[in-house]
């Protein structure tokens, strides 16, 4: 293993090691614990940077590959690698993790060492999910990831946390069990646990459909897609701010990633057969969930529903591919939709993180998430209000922010599939703006809503740093998305080529 090749291992195990050390440092000196956690988070980010700078965007091959035998009896390997699809998501993870540590700085007074440790360990596990190329390794990371999240919501969560954690756990676990069955089946068919071997595995249509449905259960729950989305608002409402941020910014992306890494390349014919199902579910998510978000009274629930609607664009972008390629009268657009979905994932990582942090800022001060408890916040917290309005605009897909890029690409692509897909997807321009800005109106603008609001203090330096960093990220991606597109371009093109060739 060369030095370069160990980068992935380092980004996985460094935060996990850090988590263990932070855990061991105990809660007697919380300040030391926090600094330690921050140190590890920053270090992990730095370690992950070569993934971007050393990345060769000219090839769709896996890069930074590490492969050593793990369980030789079943031909299971410790096999890691990234391509243009997983690399941006790993950087997103290491970036957001730093902000989560900072965001929980003084806020978490109860067992800070365990809180920080849970996040660091989860960071490592999520990165593991993104770069595992062995199905067994992937599955281990995938399931292990649930445990820290379960603990974070269960220990630092709100009053109804037990219901939320059980719902979260059972929902996601139910989905993943079927995935495990599918993985084992493919192991018996191919004699290998390598995901890339599954890509080339010949499968009949019936097999493909069954495998596709098994994956769909796992990934649709994670994304989450309508109608298996109801765990998400509950989990968000009960989770502490940091938990919500990780959940929205990273965990949901794992579902989207799963479609690209498993469902589409392994079962292209089933995906093509059942694309109407996914497209319907996605469009329902965009429209139906948008209306549901409109009437939420709880800020976190509103943002959670907004997340579901925005993730609808991701799956829509991934699955219009088949209709575009079979239409014949349009020469391109498939790659556009898929890249749009990817950009939407990254962008949503920034924006939803920022919005949940904004709610966290308010919650830390007033201990309420009810929209009606606020009003006129701008009078006492002008800087906070500026940030919230900015991120709300990004959430509403304003051009110049990252929120626009993915939606724009997906709408452009779905227009090529069918006018009415684009029509329904584009309604988000109106509905998305309505629910986001209506919330802003009721929370931020107006006369000071109550005596409690009147004494609110504006954001401190720490909060300004976190929100400011995200604002810059949202802006850069909105004004110049080319670098992100470039790194994923070849991988996505390769994927589109792969899935348009039938396996039958």
């Amino acid at each position: 293993m060369t030095a370069e090749a160990a980068i992935l291992s380092a980004t996985i195990w460094l935060p996990i090691l850090g988590g263990v050390i932070v855990l061991g440092s105990g809660d007697r000196t919380p300040q030391v614990t926090r600094r330690l956690a921050l140190g590890f988070a920053v270090l992990t980010f730095v370690v992950s940077l070569p993934l971007y700078f050393g990345f060769d965007p000219g090839t769709a091959e896996m890069q930074f590959v590490e492969k050593v035998p793990w369980i030789p009896a079943f031909d299971v390997h410790y096999y890691l690698g990234v391509d243009g699809i997983s690399m941006p998501l790993i950087l997103l993870t290491t970036f957001i993790s730093i902000l989560v540590v900072i965001a929980g700085w003084e806020v978490i007074q109860y067992k800070p060492s365990q809180y920080m440790a849970a996040f660091l360990i989860m960071e490592g596990l999520m990165i593991g999910v993104f770069c595992a190329l062995d199905a067994m390794l992937f599955y281990v990371f995938w399931e292990a990831m649930l445990i820290p999240m379960f603990i974070i919501i269960g220990v630092w969560g709100g009053p109804n946390r037990v219901y939320a954690t059980i719902k979260f756990f059972l929902y996601t676990f139910l989905g993943s069990v079927f995935m495990l069955v599918a993985l084992i089946y493919m192991y018996f068919q191919s004699g290998s646990m390598e995901i890339l071997a599954f890509h080339d595995l010949k499968l009949g249509l019936t097999e493909q459909i069954l495998i596709f449905m098994a994956f769909l259960l796992a990934f649709a729950v994670k994304v989450p897609m309508w109608p298996v989305h109801t765990w998400l608002p509950d989990a968000h409402v009960e989770a502490p701010t940091g938990g919500s941020v990780i959940l929205a910014a990273i965990m949901l992306k794992i579902g989207g990633y799963g479609f690209l890494r498993f469902s589409l390349p392994i079962t292209p014919d089933a995906s093509s057969e059942l694309d109407w199902l996914i497209i319907t579910m996605s469009l329902v998510a965009v429209v139906y969930i948008g209306f549901v978000a409109l009437v939420q009274q709880d800020m976190k629930k509103l943002i959670a529903y907004s997340s579901i609607a925005h993730m609808g664009f991701v799956t829509l972008g991934f699955f219009v591919v088949f209709i575009i390629t079979t239409r014949g009268d349009v020469d391109s657009g498939a790659v556009l939709g898929m890249q749009g979905g990817m950009v939407q994932m990254v962008s949503h990582g920034f924006i939803s993180a920022a919005l949940f942090l904004c709610v966290g800022v308010l919650y830390d001060r007033l201990h309420s998430r009810e929209i009606s408890d606020y009003g006129g916040v701008v009078n006492v917290m002008p800087w906070f209000a500026a940030f919230l309005v900015f991120f709300a605009m990004a959430n509403a897909g304003l051009p110049g922010t990252s929120g626009f890029v993915g939606e724009f690409m997906v709408i452009l692509a779905s227009f090529r599939a069918d006018f009415w897909f684009a029509f329904l997807a584009a309604t988000t321009l109106i509905i998305g703006a309505a629910y986001t800005l209506w919330m802003v109106k009721r929370v931020v603008f107006g006369e000071v809503g109550s005596d409690k609001v009147a004494v609110l203090e504006d954001i401190n330096r720490r909060e300004a740093l976190v929100l400011g960093t995200l604002a810059v990220a949202v802006l850069i991606l909105g004004v110049w998305p080319a670098p992100l597109i470039e790194v994923m371009d070849v991988s996505i093109e390769n994927l589109v080529r792969h899935i348009t060739v039938t396996k039958l």
Partner: protein, 649 residues
């Protein structure tokens, strides 16, 4: 050239950033200095660019600045296209913006959020420039939405006022309805042309003249009609055409300077600019042109009528703006793009002037905007009065004033139009002339003539506004009077727009007007119906609102139903509020409580949990923990098995 253009765009942006982010560091004076410096520089350079294009025949500038992204072979870029049209728009935008910046020093002198205000209007200038200077659809959409954002921020500038924050949300959402169509139009362009670059799209447009698109149901639609109408829906939002006009009157909740800049002179004309820019596409669809013509004429007439019954000084001017935008749109529909743009320019000057004059009156009246409380102000505010009179004369199209030339050209062009609906449009536009004169001079007589304000307190403090307010009025009054006479030749009948606007020979309505110099046009205009209608409106207003105010009351009583309809603005607001706002909330509630909570969570998720629970509750009785129960079960099981074997054997 590129450096100059970059400075023009970036100077206001820099001013906005400094005034906004360093608001405490630079203070009030610093904020207006830095933004005025930025916009002033931008204005001077824009005028230089205009001079280059108008007199030096500078070549069209069309360059890419940077590549936003390339995906799937579709290049999306940020770049500038500067030709005569752009240069004219740049000059108008930066000039009016500069006037408004200076004016604001006086208008906002005692307001909180001074720096924020300057930051916003400078940011607006940047966004508007990006919009007009774009060389592609993507950047157009960027600017399009960015001006919408600033408009949202500025309408809600007085964020404590419930009406203001209602109005800005409404404005944003209604604009989004337009943008919804606009975005789909852009998607269609991207799909069929494989490019978002103006030049490429316009060059290839004729290839698609007879292309069709299937929107389901097996009916084939003309591609160009679909694209043009979708794009025009965006223009209907931004340029406030019926039925998407509802946001503009409410936008008057914002401070008056921005009503002048954004909601009269520049942003609302973005739709006009866009359609004119896309003339190579619009020329290919008569259906779309006819649609535009009818929408524009309807807006011009119906919104003007509402202006007659308004009592808020700003709302009168706002409805007047709606009506004038209708005229511009109607011109576009008649393929008289140049006339639409010409009216856009003259209107920008005289309407900004009228708004700023209204603002000056509002300053004098201590922020009372009800014209019924005003009167006789000409004695107290002479400069405001005279400039407002000039603006009003320009607005009604009094011969010789700028508005006369532009409006007359539009009406003439529509007269020559052969499209379906042209006759209808012509009649409405003619009637609109009468209506315009009526509401304009109604306001003029009520505000500036008659007895002074009844309120003693108001009367005691009534005085002319300071120089930073009156100077912009004077500077805007000059073009309001003269610019029409001076520029009608080159803009409408000369070669100013050659190579910029495309007009197919069969639609060339402007070309049918016999033009032999501005003076001849003037003399001819005084023999046509618009002139007499305007005079009739003026005289009616004088009779009814100045000489014999009793008539106004009698009329109001006799035509109570009409007054009611106009006062309610035809019920658009009530309808939207009940159907769209109320309907969405109801739908959301139903989907949430029935869909999410009852069906998905209640039946599927918790339902399956409960059924597991129920099964478990029964199964539990099998595990009693009593050893003899288990022993008994084993014995019975054994007996059954043995019995089965025996009987089978």
């Amino acid at each position: 050239m590129q450096t100059i253009l970059l400075i023009i765009v970036l100077a206001p942006l820099l001013g906005a950033i400094v005034a906004g982010l360093l608001r405490n560091r630079v203070g009030r004076t610093g904020a207006h200095q830095v933004t005025i410096l930025g916009v002033g520089l931008s204005c001077v350079l824009s005028l230089y660019v205009l001079w280059q294009f108008a007199y030096q025949d500078a070549p069209v500038y069309n360059e890419t600045l940077y590549t936003w992204m390339v995906s799937d072979g579709l290049r999306m870029e940020i770049g500038f296209l500067v030709d005569n049209l752009t240069a004219m728009m740049m000059a108008v935008v930066t000039f009016v913006s500069l006037m408004v910046h200076i004016y604001t020093i006086g208008y906002m002198a005692h307001e909180e959020g001074y720096q924020r205000f300057f930051s916003y209007i400078a940011l607006f200038t940047f966004s508007m420039l990006m919009l007009v200077m774009s060389n592609n659809f993507l950047q157009l959409f960027f600017g399009w939405e960015a001006v919408g954002l600033v408009s949202y921020l500025l309408i809600g500038f007085y964020f404590k006022r419930e009406t203001a924050i209602f109005a800005n949300l409404k404005a944003f959402l209604v604009n989004r309805v337009g943008d919804f169509g606009f975005l789909l139009g852009i998607a269609a362009v991207a799909m069929y042309f494989g490019s978002l670059d103006y030049r490429e799209v316009f060059d290839r447009a004729p290839e698609f003249a007879s292309a069709t698109i299937n929107l389901g149901g097996g009916v084939e639609w003309s591609l160009m009609t679909v694209i043009c109408i979708l794009l025009f829906i965006g223009a209907m939002g931004k340029s406030a055409q019926m039925p998407l006009h509802v946001w503009l009157p409410d936008s008057m909740e914002g401070p008056t300077p921005i009503s002048a800049l954004i909601h009269a002179a520049t942003m609302v004309t973005a739709g006009i600019f866009m359609v004119a820019r896309m003339s190579p596409l619009y020329e290919l669809s008569e259906v779309a042109l006819s649609f535009i013509l009818v929408i524009g004429a309807t807006t011009a007439f119906m919104m003007g009528l509402i202006g007659i019954v308004q009592n808020d000084i700003k709302r009168v001017v706002a409805y007047s703006t709606l009506s004038q935008l209708g005229y511009m749109v109607a011109a576009l529909g008649a393929s008289a793009y140049a006339a639409g743009l010409f009216h856009l320019m003259t209107h920008a000057f005289f309407k900004a002037l009228l708004f700023l004059a209204a603002g000056s009156v509002i300053i004098g009246m201590h922020h009372d905007q009800d014209i019924r409380n005003m009167g006789g102000l000409r004695r107290y505010m002479p400069i405001t009065h005279w400039t407002a009179l000039l603006g009003t004369l320009a607005l009604i199209g009094f011969p010789g004033f700028s508005g006369f030339f532009s409006k007359d050209a539009i009406i003439e062009a529509v007269h020559y139009a052969q499209l379906p609906g042209a006759g209808y449009a012509y009649v409405l536009l003619l009637l609109g002339v009468f209506v315009t004169a009526l509401y304009s001079f109604r306001m003029y007589f009520i505000v500036f003539h008659g007895k002074g304000p009844r309120d003693e307190h108001a009367l005691a403090h009534l005085k002319e506004s300071p120089g930073v307010v009156t100077w912009p009025l004077i500077l805007l009054a000059i073009p309001s009077v003269f610019i029409g006479y001076l520029t009608i030749g080159p803009m409408l009948f000369g070669d100013f727009f050659d190579g910029v606007l495309t007009v197919s020979a069969v639609h060339d309505t402007l070309g049918q007007i016999h033009y032999e110099g501005a003076l001849a046009f003037l003399v001819h205009g005084m023999q046509t119906p618009p002139f007499w209608l305007a005079m009739a409106g003026l005289v009616t207003a004088w009779l009814v609102f100045s000489l014999q105010p009793k008539i106004a009351r009698t009329m109001g009583n006799t035509f109570g139903w009409l007054h009611f309809v106009l006062d309610r603005k035809y019920g658009f607001d009530e309808f939207n509020q009940a159907v769209f706002a109320g309907g969405s909330k109801l739908l959301g509630k139903v989907l949430w409580s029935v869909g999410d909570r009852t069906v998905i969570d209640g039946v599927m998720v918790n339902g399956s949990a409960h059924s597991v629970g129920r099964v478990a509750a029964v199964m539990r009785y099998l595990q009693t923990g009593m050893l003899y129960h288990y022993a008994m079960a084993i014995i019975i099981g054994l007996l059954v098995l043995l019995g089965w074997f025996v009987l089978r054997g």
